[in-house]
C-alpha cells in the first residue's frame, strides 16, 4: 500500500470512527471534559479544544491508535488515551523541571517509587505506549536486534526506548527475584545508558517458618532503596508522605477493582479494551497517580451510569461470555476488540490484578507496610499458591466462564507456569482453559481469531447448557 493510499485509508477510518463524532460533540458541549489536574496543578490540563485538537492531530502523530476501537463515548476514555499517548512528553517535561525519573519493572509495586521529586517509569508500559502510538512493531524489532532475538516483545520495546533515549531515565531500581525473570538482564544490558541498582527480593519458601528472616532481608532492601532515592533527590523521605501515597494508591486500587468488576455485570457496560487500558496503567500510573485517579474514577462512574441505564460497552455483544486472562496480558490491543466481536468480554487480567487485588494497611511502620505489600503479590509466590490465588479470584468473581493463559514469545517467567496453573484451575473450578501464544502486535491475528472463536463458541455452548 502506498503512502498516499495509506494516508487516505487512515483519514477514511477517522471520518467513519466514533472519534470524530465524539470530538465534534465535545466542541459543542465542553462540559463533557474537565481538566485533569495533579495536586501541584502542573502535569495535565485538558480542555475540550485540547481533546479535539488531540484527536485530529492523532491522525498523523499517533497513527497506531486507529488500529484499535477505543470507546470514546465512555467518559474518561479519551483522557486516558491522552495520558497514554502523551507519556513521553510529560516525562520529558517533568525531568526538565528537575524531577528524577526512576525506572521500575511492571510487577513491582508502585507505592515506594512515588516519593517527593521522583516520577516512576515502567519501561514496559512506556514501550507499549510507544507501540500504540506508532502502530508498527519496529521498536520491538530494533530492540531484539540489539538485545536478543529471543527477548519478549515487552523487553525488546523497553530496551529500545531506553537505549535510543526516547525516554529519559536518571536511575533504574527494579526489584528482582520472583518477578519477571528477564527484566533483571534487560536492565543489565542497559548499564551503558542508565545507572542503577537492584532491590533484592529473595526467592524463598513461603510455606515454612523461615519467612521472618527473608521478610527482614527484604525490609532492609526497601530501606536501602528509599535511601538511594533520598540521595538522588537530595530530599529526606517523610514517612507521613509515604503513608499519604499508600492512601492515594489504595484509592487507585479500589477504583481499579471496581472497574474490573464492571464487565461481569449484565450487560457489561465497558468493553474489553476499555477495561484493559484502565488496568494496565497500574504499573506506573502513567507517571501521575493523582491524574490517574481522576481519570479512572471517571471511567468507573461512566460505567456505573451505563449500567444503571442498561447500556452495553461499545463493542460488547449481547450476552457475552466472561473470560479472565492470566499469565501475561496480550500486548496486541486488537485482540481485546476481537474477543468482544466474537461474543466474549474480558473480565480481568491477573498480571495486573495481582498488584491491586487488595488494599494495603496504612497504619504502622511504612517500611513494614511496604514489605508486606511486596510479599502480598501472588505472582511472586510458589506456583501452587499462585495458582490457588487465581482459583480464588475465579471463585469470588461474580462470573467467569473461561480462562485464557497467555504466553508472550520469549517469556519464561509466566509462560513456564501455563500448564501448571491451567491444570489446577481446571481441577478446582471446572472452567475451560485456553493457552495462547502471542508476540508482535497485529501478528497471527488469523490464527488467533480461529482459536479464540472456537474457545468462545465452546463457552457459549456451555452457557446455553446452563
Amino acid at each position: 500500500m502506498s503512502v498516499v493510499t495509506k494516508s487516505f485509508d487512515t483519514i477514511h477510518k477517522f471520518l467513519n470512527s466514533p472519534r470524530l463524532e465524539f470530538g465534534l460533540r465535545i466542541l459543542h458541549d465542553p462540559s463533557i471534559v474537565t481538566d485533569i489536574r495533579r495536586l501541584d496543578g502542573r502535569f495535565l490540563k485538558i480542555s475540550a479544544w485540547g481533546i479535539f485538537k488531540f484527536l485530529v492531530e492523532a491522525l498523523w502523530k499517533y497513527p497506531g491508535m486507529f488500529d484499535y476501537e477505543i470507546d470514546p463515548s465512555l467518559r474518561g476514555m479519551s483522557e486516558l488515551t491522552y495520558m497514554i499517548l502523551s507519556l513521553e512528553e510529560r516525562v520529558k517535561a517533568a525531568r526538565k523541571r528537575g524531577v528524577k525519573i526512576v525506572g521500575k519493572w511492571p510487577a513491582n509495586p508502585t507505592d515506594p517509587y512515588f516519593v517527593d521529586g521522583v516520577m516512576a517509569l515502567d519501561p514496559f508500559l512506556a514501550g507499549y505506549c510507544r507501540l500504540l502510538a506508532e502502530g508498527k512493531p519496529d521498536l520491538v524489532k530494533r530492540g531484539r536486534a540489539r538485545l536478543s532475538e529471543e527477548a519478549c516483545p515487552a523487553q525488546a520495546a523497553a530496551y529500545s526506548i531506553l537505549d535510543e533515549e526516547t525516554y529519559p531515565m536518571d536511575f533504574f531500581y527494579p526489584f528482582i527475584g520472583p518477578w519477571c525473570y528477564d527484566s533483571q538482564y534487560c536492565f543489565e544490558a542497559l548499564r551503558h545508558k542508565v545507572d542503577g541498582d537492584y532491590g533484592d527480593h529473595p526467592v524463598f519458601n513461603q510455606r515454612d517458618d523461615r519467612l521472618g528472616i527473608s521478610r527482614e532481608y527484604l525490609r532492609q532492601e526497601l530501606l536501602r532503596f528509599l535511601k538511594r532515592l533520598e540521595e538522588l533527590t537530595g530530599k529526606k523521605i517523610d514517612p507521613e508522605a509515604l503513608r499519604r501515597e499508600f492512601i492515594l494508591e489504595n484509592k487507585l486500587r479500589r477504583v481499579l477493582r471496581e472497574i474490573i468488576a464492571l464487565p461481569q455485570e449484565e450487560p457489561p457496560p465497558i468493553d474489553s479494551l476499555a477495561m484493559i487500558l484502565s488496568v494496565f496503567i497500574c504499573s506506573d500510573w502513567l507517571g501521575d497517580p493523582e491524574a490517574a485517579l481522576q481519570v479512572l474514577s471517571r471511567i468507573r462512574d461512566a460505567g456505573y451510569e451505563r449500567l444503571a441505564k442498561g447500556r452495553r460497552g461499545m463493542l460488547v455483544q449481547k450476552y457475552p461470555v466472561r473470560i479472565l486472562i492470566t499469565g501475561i496480558a496480550w500486548g496486541d490491543l486488537g485482540l481485546y476488540n476481537m474477543v468482544d466481536e466474537l461474543g466474549g468480554v474480558i473480565v480481568g487480567s491477573d498480571c495486573v490484578y495481582n498488584l491491586f487485588h487488595k488494599d494495603i494497611d496504612t497504619d504502622g511502620d511504612p517500611i513494614d507496610i511496604l514489605t508486606d505489600r511486596f510479599l502480598a503479590t501472588p505472582y511472586t509466590w510458589q506456583v501452587e499458591e499462585r495458582s490457588m490465588w487465581t482459583v480464588n479470584t475465579i471463585r469470588s468473581a461474580k462470573r467467569v466462564d473461561g480462562l485464557i493463559f497467555n504466553c508472550n514469545f520469549g517469556c519464561n517467567y509466566q509462560a513456564a507456569e501455563a500448564r501448571f496453573v491451567t491444570d489446577i484451575v481446571k481441577r478446582e473450578t471446572g472452567i475451560p482453559c485456553l493457552i495462547t501464544d502471542a508476540d508482535l502486535p497485529k501478528e497471527n491475528r488469523g490464527q488467533m481469531r480461529t482459536r479464540l472463536g472456537a474457545f468462545i463458541e465452546l463457552l457459549k455452548e456451555r452457557q446455553l447448557e446452563d
Binding site: E188, R191, H192, V203, S214, A416
Partner: protein
C-alpha cells in the same frame, strides 16, 4: 600419548556408579540431587546424604517432553531436566530421593516445582538472594543455610556435627585445589592434558563418591605431572564461555574436534567456575561467602558495567591463558547469558579478541551452520596470528 591409568580408572568408576548408587539405596542410604552449583555440597555430604549433581544433556525427545510441562520459551536444559525425569531412563534422574534448589537460575525454579507436583519428588528450597555483591546478602544466605542443614539432617537422620562439617570442608577444598591444579596445567603450551579431559574429570565429580574422586584426582596429578608433554599445541587458544554445557552436550565439541580445535580454558558452571576459591572455615558464614561471592553465574545480575566481576574474571582468564578467541555458547532462551553478548563483545573488542556467539539447543539442525561459523572464526584467529 597413552591415556593415564587414573583416567581409565575414573571412567570405570563412572560406569559402575549407577549400580553402586542402586545398592546404596537398597542399604537405606538417601540420594540428594541438585542442579545448580550454588548448593553448598559440603552440607549435603556432611548430612550423610549422597550428593549427585543432576546435570545431563537430554536428547531432543527429553527436551520436547519438558516443553510440554514448561514452555517452548524455556531453555533446552531446563526442559531436558523435566523430560529426563519423566522418561525415567537416566539412572541418576531415576535414583534421586529428593532434590535441593538454590534458585539462581529462575527458569530452573520451575523445574523443581514441576518435579514436586507432577513427579511427587520432595524438594528442599534453599532461599537465595540475588545481590551477591552485598555483604548483607552473604549474611542472609548464611542464615538460610542453618534451616537448610536442619532439613537435610532431618531427612538423613544424621546430624551435621562440627566434626563432620570440618571433614566435608576439608574434602571439598582438597578437590577444588586439585581441579584448579588441572586447569592451571592448561596454561602450558603444549599442556600435559587436554581441556576436554579436564572437563570430563570435572563432570565425574558430579556423581562419583567424593572421597574416591579426591583420590583419583591425586593419582591423576601424580601420574601426569612428571610425564613429558607430548600433546600438540592447540591451533588456536580458545576460551569457551556461556550457558550451562551439561555432560553429553557434545555437538560443539565434535565440530571443534573435526576442525582440529579445542578450547584451552572454559568459563562454565559445569567447568572451571566451581573450582575457584576455598571455604576458609567449617561454618555457614564461610560457606555462604564462598558460594555467593565466588565467580558469579550470569543468572545473578550486576548493576555496574565498569567493575563487573564477570568481566574482570574473563579478562584475567584471557591474560593467564593467552586467549586468542572466545566462543560464547548460549542455549536458546537462556536470557541470563544471551542478553550479555553486547557488553562482552565490547569488552573483548578492547583487547582485540574476537568473539563467536553461538546460540543453539540440543537438536542437530544447526550443526552445519555452526561448523561453518566456527571454521570462519578459526580462520580469523589464524589470520590475526599470522
Amino acid at each position: 600419548m597413552p591415556k593415564p591409568a587414573a583416567l581409565v580408572r575414573l571412567e570405570d568408576e563412572l560406569a559402575r556408579r549407577p549400580k553402586e548408587l542402586t545398592q546404596a539405596k537398597a542399604q537405606g542410604k538417601r540420594i540428594l540431587g541438585y542442579f545448580c552449583s550454588y548448593i553448598p555440597e559440603e552440607l549435603v555430604w556432611a548430612s550423610g546424604l549422597i550428593p549427585v549433581r543432576l546435570c545431563r544433556r537430554g536428547d531432543n525427545q527429553a527436551a520436547t517432553i519438558g516443553r510440554s510441562f514448561l514452555t517452548t520459551n524455556s531453555c533446552p536444559f531446563a526442559c531436558s531436566c523435566v523430560g529426563l525425569k519423566k522418561q525415567g531412563r537416566d539412572p541418576y534422574f531415576k535414583l534421586v530421593d529428593l532434590v535441593a534448589d538454590a534458585p539462581a537460575c529462575l527458569q530452573m525454579r520451575r523445574v523443581f516445582e514441576v518435579w514436586e507436583r507432577y513427579f511427587g519428588v520432595k524438594v528442599i528450597l534453599l532461599s537465595f538472594p540475588r545481590k551477591f555483591y552485598l555483604p548483607e546478602a552473604s549474611e542472609y544466605f548464611a542464615r538460610m543455610l542453618e534451616p537448610f542443614t536442619r532439613e537435610l539432617s532431618d531427612y538423613s537422620r544424621i546430624p551435621v556435627t562440627p566434626e563432620r562439617l570440618s571433614r566435608a570442608v576439608e574434602l571439598y577444598n582438597h578437590i577444588r585445589r586439585r581441579q584448579q591444579r588441572l586447569y592451571s596445567l592448561l596454561r602450558e603450551d603444549p599442556p600435559p592434558i587436554t581441556w576436554r579431559d579436564v572437563f570430563r574429570i570435572i563432570h565425574a565429580g558430579f556423581v562419583l563418591d567424593r572421597e574416591m574422586y579426591r583420590d583419583i584426582l591425586d593419582e591423576l596429578l601424580e601420574e601426569i605431572l612428571p610425564q613429558p608433554h607430548t600433546n600438540r599445541p592447540p591451533q588456536a587458544r580458545l576460551l569457551l564461555a556461556g550457558s550451562i554445557m551439561a555432560p553429553g552436550d557434545e555437538k560443539l565439541f565434535n565440530i571443534l574436534g573435526e576442525l582440529d580445535a579445542e578450547p584451552v580454558m572454559d568459563e562454565l558452571c559445569t567447568g572451571s567456575r566451581g573450582t575457584w576459591g576455598q571455604v576458609d572455615a567449617p561454618n555457614e558464614g564461610s560457606l555462604a561467602r564462598h558460594y555467593l561471592t565466588n565467580i558469579p553465574c550470569s543468572s545473578l545480575p550486576y548493576p555496574r558495567l565498569e567493575d563487573d566481576p564477570r568481566h574482570a574474571h574473563i579478562s584475567r582468564l584471557i591474560k593467564d591463558y593467552r586467549i586468542q578467541g572466545v566462543i560464547y555458547h548460549t542455549l536458546h532462551f537462556c536470557d541470563a547469558y544471551n542478553f550479555k553478548v553486547q557488553h562482552l563483545h565490547n569488552l573483548l573488542s578492547s583487547y582485540s579478541i574476537p568473539l563467536l556467539h553461538l546460540n543453539s539447543d540440543y537438536s542437530m539442525a544447526d550443526a552445519g551452520q555452526i561448523r561453518t561459523r566456527v571454521e570462519a572464526f578459526l580462520e580469523i584467529i589464524q589470520d590475526r596470528s599470522a
